[in-house]
Amino acid sequence: MENLTQAQAELIVATIADTALANEAYFSELDAVMGDADFGTSLASGFKVVKANWETYDHSSIGALLLNVSSALTSNTGGCSGPVWGTLFMRTGIAFRGKTELSLGEIIAGLESAIEGIMKRGGAKLGDKTLLDALDAVVNSYKASLEADVSLPEAFDNAAEAAYQSRETTKGWVAMRGRQSFTGDRSIGTYDPGIVAIGDMAKAIAAALRAA
């Protein structure tokens, strides 16, 4: 399988930011069902800063860029989303230090480090109905794609499908973390906004890589 180039990696980050901004109201509506309705606005406030400062960031490597994004998200995203999304970009940023292209194996290692970091930061586990479950679905899909030696765009298509599916898989689960967990069994049958966001972002990323 071919490697992901720096241009493609930058496209992925830009697509994540665009998805967060385009879905600000929708993500907050999802959060209003069981949470405090601020997820969309919190996430958008962080990614607005990322977009505004994009040109000033260090583009010398994929890792350097992700670390700049991590700082911006941590400092400008409200609530618990700041440290969670900041850690996602920080752990991948550290893993991708000095790299201007990435193999799928390296991407998997970076995301696994991010999942571990988010667990440590917020105390959540897999199965708690958080965005970790969607990220885990993505990692498992990448592993299957690596095994099957499909093309890079195909690997991203498969991951998008897996992330998108995780919203349905987890819908019947009880939320164990964050504000949604305060509602206990009432969270059964609702979508977790973080999981939905990862699914929507993964779909947008796959489409952007195909279109580029």
Binding site: S71, T74, S75, G82, G86, R97, G117, R121
Partner: protein
Amino acid sequence: MKKFVNDPENFVHDMLEGVYLANQDKLRWVREYNIFYRADLPSDKVLIMQGSGSGHEPAHSMIVGPGMLDASCPGNVFAAPPMDYVLECTKILANPKGVIHLINNYQGDRMAWDMAKELAEAEYPDLKIGVVIINDDVAVQDSTWTVGRRGVAGNFFIIKALGAASEQGKSVEELVALGEKVNSYTRSMGVALSSCTPPAKGSPIFEIGDDEIEVGVGIHGEPGRRRDKIRPASEIVDELFEAIYTDLPFASGDRVAVMVNGLGGTPISELYLLYGLVAKKCAEKGLAIAKNYVGNYCTSLEMAGMSITLSKLDDEIEGYLNAPAEIPIRVF
């Protein structure tokens, strides 16, 4: 609201500028990240830093100096420092002996410091960073911004002990152990007579009646144990003292340091009136006061109120409290 302020959004920057201009020989200021560090930053000892929010002055940006903090990186008023403030400050202090992160136990602070530590360690694989979490407030178990107890005015004792011990060449491991010991020996509780107004917010952080007090208030105006009516000072001291004394527990014969800390809007006359009452309580319980501290150490802007801290001493800690220190806030 009446305050001495220009642009309220720049309140912290403008305050730090004043501190810097008054102490240019002693401090270096990194404007972008609210960082103060010692102009004579030592290169042969573990360096100590603390961040926390602004609005608690003199903690922490006004207590940078020999024998106290080597650097501070406060966030906005009552807000944890952003992760990059902590990271930049850690980078300035990075040295072969190591760095200590002193963190008051609030979720926002802990996450920002935790991330900054991870990033600093990724950048400097050989850098030793020790962490001490401060949680001296006995008032409430969990609060608006914490899992577990809050870190309040008792942080002074950890800073003072670690500042002195680091000057004497202690290692990161020894300093972490000392910090944990002093924290475990230190208990505080506060009471508010009034609210306070962060400049950029423009309105009081909570409402309180003219005849009401908040017992067990946090240093960001978080709720304490209960709202009560104002009572004679001796009754208020009795309640706070009992809560603190029984929590450790302290015992007859213990040597202690006592702090009566003003929250910003209570005059020193009232603080000494309160100290007299606390001293009598200590005598009643057989506690020997080896050191006393009366004044504004950890405030909540202009809030009227106070907190009492008792810190149990042993010879090691007492030695560190008596060691010399020099900070920008001075009366002569």
